[in-house]
């Protein structure tokens, strides 16, 4: 018998062992739901799969009686637009600040204290200010995501830019490169896969700020819907929505990982030198 630390399961076993805990959680939920529903068919806390699928059918496949919209899809579109805009703008700002502060000592000296202070401000505490300044519309929600995520991306990219081997910068200079060329041909391409990594890591935070902003002031969106139907204890809507958000987050993460491997193969194959 090998030591446990040396025992790594083969592929089919790994798959099976990974699925068991998930199946167990599902089975526990179904058993609990069944038990509560036999005791009280009107129980709302642990809806059965049928109840959830009929709720989803109502939200996704039938037009709303009040507005005629397919709520599930308008919520999804509204949330994804806010998240996409917020993360996209944060990525651009983060890239600019991170790259410039990392590459140019003069910019670093000027911006670093501001960046440090800014990244320590809890973004949710700024939400009231954002609502006051930018109104309750889309802008304040997007700005919240930007403020919440951009400092993290900027600091992460700054760190990676500073960690770039000095040898490469010296080499570029001996080949006659000016500062612009070093920025665009040496540093930027090598920082791009790091940007994708940083965006992947910050998507979770992005969702957090999105749902928080939607919960407080919105008229559509996944977060808005969850907090709206909470008033009626509509677990049959909340649980599928949460599952859907999780799936979306998973797909976004996968897509970014694929994009990074596709665009920057040299980054993923252990480019050590």
């Amino acid at each position: 018998m090998k030591r446990l630390v040396n025992l790594s399961p083969s592929r089919p076993w790994a798959l099976l062992l990974g699925l068991i805990p998930l199946a167990l959680v599902l089975a526990l939920y179904l058993a609990g739901s069944d038990a509560r529903l036999t005791e009280n068919p009107n129980d709302k806390l642990l809806p059965s799969l049928e109840q959830m699928s009929s709720a989803l059918d109502r939200m996704a496949l039938q037009p709303s009686k009040r507005s005629g919209e397919y709520l599930f899809w308008t919520d999804t579109a509204a949330s994804l637009q806010r998240l996409g805009l917020g993360i996209g703008i944060a990525a651009i700002i983060g890239l600019l600040i991170g790259l410039l502060t990392g590459a140019l000592p003069a910019v670093n000296v000027a911006l670093s204290p501001l960046l440090t202070v800014f990244s320590l401000v809890p973004p949710l505490a700024l939400l009231p200010i954002l609502f006051i300044v930018f109104g309750l519309d889309e802008l304040s929600k997007v700005v919240l995501i930007v403020i919440g995520v951009a400092p993290f991306i900027a600091r992460d990219l700054q760190k990676h830019t500073l960690e770039m081997p000095r040898e490469q910068l010296v080499k570029a200079q001996t080949l006659g490169a000016n500062s612009m060329q070093i920025l665009f041909r040496v540093l930027l391409p090598q920082i791009m896969p790091r940007l994708i990594d940083a965006v992947r890591l910050s998507l979770g935070t992005g969702w957090l700020f999105l749902i928080a902003a939607e919960a407080i002031a919105a008229t559509d969106g996944l977060g808005y819907r969850i907090f709206l139907v909470r008033r009626y204890l509509s677990m049959d809507v909340i649980i599928p929505y949460v599952a859907w958000i999780t799936l979306l987050a998973f797909l976004l993460d996968m897509a970014l990982a694929w994009l990074s491997r596709r665009l920057y193969p040299w980054h993923h194959k252990g480019a050590a030198s």
Binding site: E167, K171, K269, A272
Partner: protein, 255 residues
């Protein structure tokens, strides 16, 4: 060509180099040896321009060595010398792109083809003709250093600085690389400064050997005195065959 007068280098209280006086003529091939931390790499940095002298002068053609790296001084480091995000060919053409495209650093059309032809020629001369589409991580350590050398030479520097370029290579590959450097040195009429920790390599390559060492040492304050050049020996360049003959005679391989 290069002259140092009473050159000192300190980092705070830590004296690394002291009282360095030397003259180097164009076309010399200088190897520098010494224990680790003896300042030979620091001297290379002074030549490169990434470090400045604390006292004394280091001049190139009578003018102080510029205080940042430039075109006239090419460099090959032990590692991280090539750009991991560019193919072998791009790693060489990028030098021409830096020259002709000051804003974007990119070449297009005929300028690009011309740079590529030139780069292929250079790659062929270092033995990398068949690898032009590969990325550095797909190359062996020796091939990567060949690429670094091709890249360093494409803009025709007068001086080539080598910082333990073969330190991480296997002995067999190292011998090939030494041959390569020697042939390129003759072909391009370079002045070469090479740091090595392998004294044999120092004796075998080049025309002149410098040994860096401390002449004064205070055990209570080990950093109070720096290293200087203790030996400055002319080295007659030997044929590889002759060298091996002598080496075999000195260290016979048991049958």
């Amino acid at each position: 060509m290069i002259e140092a007068q009473n050159l000192w280098k300190h980092y705070g209280d830590h004296v690394v180099l002291e009282r360095i006086n030397l003259k180097v003529r164009e076309g010399e091939f200088i190897t520098m040896v010494g224990t680790s931390g003896c300042g030979k790499s620091t001297f290379l940095k002074l030549l490169l321009g990434t470090e400045g002298a604390t006292r004394g002068t280091l001049t190139l053609d009578g003018n102080p060595v510029p205080d940042e790296p430039g075109l006239d001084r090419g460099i090959v480091f032990q590692q991280y010398s090539v750009f991991p995000h560019l193919t072998v060919l791009e790693n060489v053409t990028i030098a021409r792109a830096f020259e002709h495209s000051p804003l974007l650093g990119r070449l297009f059309g005929s300028a690009k083809r011309q740079a590529e032809d030139e780069a292929r020629e250079m790659l062929a001369s270092v033995g990398l003709a068949s690898a032009e589409k590969r990325y550095p991580h797909e190359l062996s350590g020796g091939m990567r250093q060949r690429l670094a050398i091709a890249q360093a030479l494409i803009r025709k520097p007068r001086i080539l600085l080598l910082d333990e370029p073969f330190g991480a290579l296997d002995p067999g590959i190292r011998a090939d690389m030494q041959e390569l450097v020697l042939s390129l040195w003759r072909k391009h009429k370079l002045t070469v400064f090479m740091v090595t920790h392998d004294i044999k390599e120092g004796f075998y390559l080049g025309t002149r050997l410098w040994v860096f060492d401390k002449t004064r040492y205070d055990p209570q304050a080990p950093h109070a005195y720096g290293a200087t050049i203790t030996y400055d020996l002319p080295v007659g360049h030997m044929d590889r065959a002759l060298y091996e003959e002598i080496d075999d005679r000195l260290h016979p391989v048991p049958a």
